[in-house]
């Protein structure tokens, strides 16, 4: 984008809280059940029913607020947001309008080696709506729609950021940091694919150096962090082109289309609904005593930012590694548990970011679903460090440990995978390889160093990767000299 404009981005993140029951009734919040099996008169909004506030949901909201450095409001209240939609059984959503549970927080991000602090305006508690299931591909092409109210009434927090982000990349980094904090505190599952984490973005441009914000556009239907970044990148370009052409930006809500990679207008500001907010008469004010806040604060774990700093200072990890390892609480804990048994931190972090992450991706497993433990990884790395096994073997053994949880030492022993460091045996193999590849031998002797690599590879192949590579090198050089 041109250097003429400064990008201004603010994000609204909705995170479903990880409570067992809904915000105002005891129905389960389990994902993926048969439609309308987790409903009751209260979450169906049957006439005469009343809400009873879930204490755990309040605790999670407070915990999120504290973890995001907000000021917890000792007095907040619920309001009704009134609108008609078939997935909203009461025709109003219980939310918090002017007195939310938490205000004025901040989050640190690291983009391109620079640290930046982003402001959080507010966090408020509200309830989920149900889900419309359209008979066709989309609402317009459908003959009818069905409603599933299982999700209706699940508690969520909306985290509204300040317009502090200056690039789509920063927005992406903010989302990663936010998700990481919510996962650390375990207040939300943060599963975008299940809809437990959602994001809307506000974006505007202003001439560089200007103080006044430009006209903002709200982006919806952002189904992944990458989608947020891509939609913002598209929108920044679109707005810049309009401004360059001397046109004005219309304040509106735009829909991101993942397939076309474009945004299109949903509704203008004039068409925006009047939600007729007013205080919820069926719930008293939400009063949170300092003692309760203190109790919640006491159970907040060490957060990613602090872990990140410690990983750099205590274990000497490079920033890149520290960032990546600390962004997931489970990964960070796995890291520290492994390092406690096998102190080469850089080697541990290499394996976690490399093989381990690769296998998690391939298998689609969460870290705690993999059979491997820090003890098993440490044992494997010890064998590797001692030279008992080669790097290649280590990778294949790790695959098995990852899948089965079997002791790597046992695997190595059973399959006879220990490295061959027996000079006599290797000498025999090296001689045989030299005899079988006269071409490469000539090449090497004519100064082509690459040929040596080929011969090493042949030896490794012959030994199924078990040969000690250093020894093979030495022996080859000796016999080729």
């Amino acid at each position: 984008m041109s250097a003429k404009y400064e990008t201004v981005i603010g994000l609204e993140v909705h995170a479903e809280l990880r409570t067992k029951s809904k915000l105002f009734c005891s129905c389960s919040t389990k994902f993926g059940s048969e439609p309308n099996t987790q409903v009751c008169p209260i979450c169906l909004g049957l006439p005469g029913t009343l809400p009873v506030l879930n204490k755990q949901a309040v605790e999670y909201a407070v915990e999120a607020g504290l973890a995001l450095n907000c000021t917890i409001q000792k007095y907040s209240k619920f309001d009704r947001k009134n609108y008609f939609y078939p997935d909203l059984p009461k025709a109003f959503q219980n939310s918090q309008f002017d007195l939310p549970v938490a205000l004025a927080g901040k989050v640190k991000i690291h983009v391109n080696g620079e640290d930046k602090e982003l402001g959080i305006t507010r966090i408020h508690l509200e309830e989920e709506a149900g889900k419309s299931v359209h008979s066709g591909d989309n609402i317009l092409g459908s003959d009818y729609s069905s409603e599933d109210y299982n999700r209706g009434g699940i508690p969520l927090i909306e985290i509204v950021s300040e317009p502090d982000m200056r690039s789509p990349e920063e927005a992406y980094a903010y989302l990663v940091a936010l998700k990481s904090i919510l996962e650390y505190t375990e207040v939300s599952d943060c599963k975008m694919e299940e809809g437990s984490l959602r994001c809307d973005a506000n974006v505007s441009l202003r001439p560089v150096g200007a103080e006044k914000f430009g006209t903002k556009v709200e982006l919806k239907n952002l189904n992944s962090f990458r989608a947020v970044q891509k939609a913002l990148e598209y929108e920044v370009q679109r707005q810049a082109q309009l401004l360059d052409a001397g046109e004005t930006i219309i304040q509106e809500t735009r829909h991101w289309d993942e397939n076309t990679g474009k945004t299109h207008s949903m509704r203008s500001k004039e068409e925006a609904e009047d939600y007729r907010y007013f205080p919820e008469p069926d719930l008293g004010p939400l009063v949170i005593e300092q003692g309760w806040i203190d109790q919640i604060a006491a159970r907040i774990p060490e957060l990613p930012e602090s872990k990140r700093r410690r990983f750099i200072s205590e274990y000497g990890l490079p920033e890149y590694d520290a960032d990546l390892i600390s962004s997931s609480r489970k990964m960070a804990e796995f890291f520290e548990a492994t390092v406690a048994l096998f102190p080469d931190a850089k080697m541990v972090s290499n394996w976690l970011m490399g093989e381990f992450s690769r296998l998690l991706n391939v298998s689609g497993k969460e870290l705690d679903q993999a059979a491997v433990t820090p003890e098993l990884l440490a044992k494997l790395l010890q064998m590797l460090a001692k030279g008992t096994i080669s790097g290649t073997v280590a990778k294949s053994v790790f695959e098995e440990v990852f899948a089965t949880g079997k002791d790597p030492e046992a695997i190595v022993q059973e399959k006879g995978l220990a490295q061959i460091s027996d000079t006599a045996e290797l000498e025999r193999i090296v001689q045989a390889i030299i005899a079988a590849n006269p071409g490469s031998v000539t090449d090497f002797r004519n100064g082509k160093d690459k040929a040596l690599g080929f011969l090493v590879g042949q030896v490794m192949k012959e030994t199924k990767g078990r040969a000690n590579p250093q020894l093979v090198n030495e022996l080859l050089r000796k016999y080729l000299a």
Partner: protein
């Protein structure tokens, strides 16, 4: 005297002395319903089999010598906005004509624990909006005192049934006077408890911040007995107050010596029928003669109460009634081609004129442009009214006023004049705005022989002192046992 003519406490004593059985009482009620209901039309739905089976259980337990609750075997009726599992709950609306709730309201549960047989569900103004029961989508109930007149509303069926002897007691709900006004019109006792004393769970909401359930009974003792049964905090309604349980009958002593009775001049204004004012004043004199001290007080913001009420109540109702959209239950227009038209037609056809009028009013006062000028202003008035009462109760223990500006009016007389109808709430809405307890007790008749109601208001949770005062009024005016 037939069984249906007795009060609840009389029948309780007769059952305990084995002078009658619960089945006999219930049968007497059902017979009475059969005889007089075609003229009075208080019931929307009768549940004779439910009543009979409960009565049989009571008799069985009595035979085994069990000690039973006060209301065991005493048949009652419920206003049709109280959810009853398996029994349709219509709110007198076409919208809910065929709606059968899958759960019970807390008040009904508590009466079932008392083993009180349910005779049926009572007519009302649609969604409790109205003062004559003429806003019922189904039919109008007659005032048993004069069948050409309205029973009042919105709990008109609840008041008429007690006056006609087709229920020993009933429950009504009161958002702006809907228990007290019909009680006054029909010559029975009607108590609106302090906001938060009785659970609202399962009672179809009109204006959530003011709705309160209370008894309509033949005398003050019955009101205390029924209040004993239904009062108390409820985990399903977090607006109920956590307080120690009281036996309200313990307050019923014919003794008002030293009690300070406040007379607010703002309630004895023009527009209130002089006959009613006179009757109230005479009763107050009798109380003074019995040892009460009469204090002139002022509730200066009373004149704004009605206007503020008609902003707050419609605002809340517009939101509470938005759920009736034809999607999940209730009336649905079958011809609509799309969802928005379905909303419009279902609500347009399912709601009556008064309900629509209040939804429109409420939607407007909550809209972004009107919120500050109407809704916020009305909330300020509400605070001022509450403060008025707090100051008044420094000077007196109870406040006595007329319940209504007029006695029961003719059917059809005001049906096309909503403003005139709103005026019948003039004297009753302030207690709802301030959340205070108030009772209407009969204190005599006008020249046409129509009952006059005397309203007694108390400080929050002052049910004991208003019941005692009402009990004394009943003793002095000999109006107890209305259904004769």
């Amino acid at each position: 005297m037939s069984l249906y003519q007795h009060t609840a406490h009389q029948l309780r004593d007769m059952l305990r002395r084995q002078e009658t059985t619960a089945v006999e009482i219930t049968e007497s009620m059902l017979e009475r319903i059969e005889t007089i209901e075609p003229e009075v039309k208080a019931y929307l739905t009768t549940t004779p089999e439910l009543a009979r089976s409960m009565a049989r259980v009571v008799d069985q337990r009595l035979k085994q010598g069990e000690a039973l609750p006060d209301l065991a075997g005493i048949p009652m009726g419920l206003k049709d906005n109280m959810s009853t599992k398996g029994v349709r709950t219509t709110c007198s609306s076409k919208m809910l004509e065929n709606y059968i709730p899958p759960f019970d309201s807390t008040v009904y549960q508590r009466l079932m624990q008392q083993m009180s047989p349910l005779l049926g569900k009572l007519n009302m103004d649609e969604f409790a909006m109205g003062t004559s029961t003429e806003n019922s989508a189904f039919f109008t109930t007659a005032n048993p005192r004069d069948l050409q007149r309205v029973p009042g509303g919105s709990s008109g069926g609840s008041a008429a049934a007690v006056a006609a002897g087709t229920a020993i007691f009933t429950l009504g709900s009161d958002t702006g006077g809907s228990i007290r006004q019909p009680a006054a019109f029909c010559g029975v006792v009607g108590l609106k408890p302090t906001y938060g004393l009785v659970s609202r769970y399962g009672v179809v909401a009109f204006a959530s911040s003011m709705d309160q359930v209370g008894p309509l009974t033949k005398d003050v003792t019955d009101a205390a007995l029924v209040l004993n049964a239904i009062a108390g905090s409820d985990p399903w309604d977090t607006t109920t107050a956590q307080r120690e349980t009281l036996d309200y009958t313990a307050f019923l002593k014919p003794d008002v010596k030293g009690m300070r009775i406040g007379l607010p001049k703002e309630y004895f204004v023009e527009g209130v029928n002089p006959e009613i004012k006179d009757r109230i004043n005479q009763t107050v004199q009798q109380l003074a003669a019995a040892g009460a001290e009469v204090v002139e007080i002022s509730l200066p913001h009373t004149e704004y109460a009605l206007a503020a009420y008609y902003i707050i109540a419609p605002a809340e109702c517009s939101s509470n009634l938005a759920r009736f959209d034809g999607v999940r239950y209730g009336y649905r227009s079958e011809t609509a081609p799309d969802v928005v038209t379905m909303y419009k037609e279902s609500r347009g056809e399912g709601f009556g004129a008064e309900v629509k009028r209040r939804i429109l009013l409420g939607t407007y006062v909550l809209s972004a442009d009107a919120y500050e000028t109407y809704f916020v202003q009305a909330q300020k008035v509400r605070t001022l009214i509450t403060t008025d009462f707090q100051e008044a109760f420094q000077k007196c223990d109870v406040i006595i006023t007329p319940t209504t500006p007029t006695t029961a009016f003719q059917k059809g007389e005001k049906v096309h004049d909503p403003q005139a109808l709103y005026l019948s709430d003039l004297l009753t809405t302030p207690a709802n705005m301030a959340g205070l307890p108030a009772i209407s007790v009969p204190c005599g008749f006008d020249q046409a022989g129509l009952p006059i109601g005397l309203q007694i208001m108390g400080p929050a949770f002052g049910e004991g002192q208003i019941l005692r005062t009402a009990y004394m009024v009943e003793q002095l005016t000999e109006t107890g046992g209305a259904a004769r």
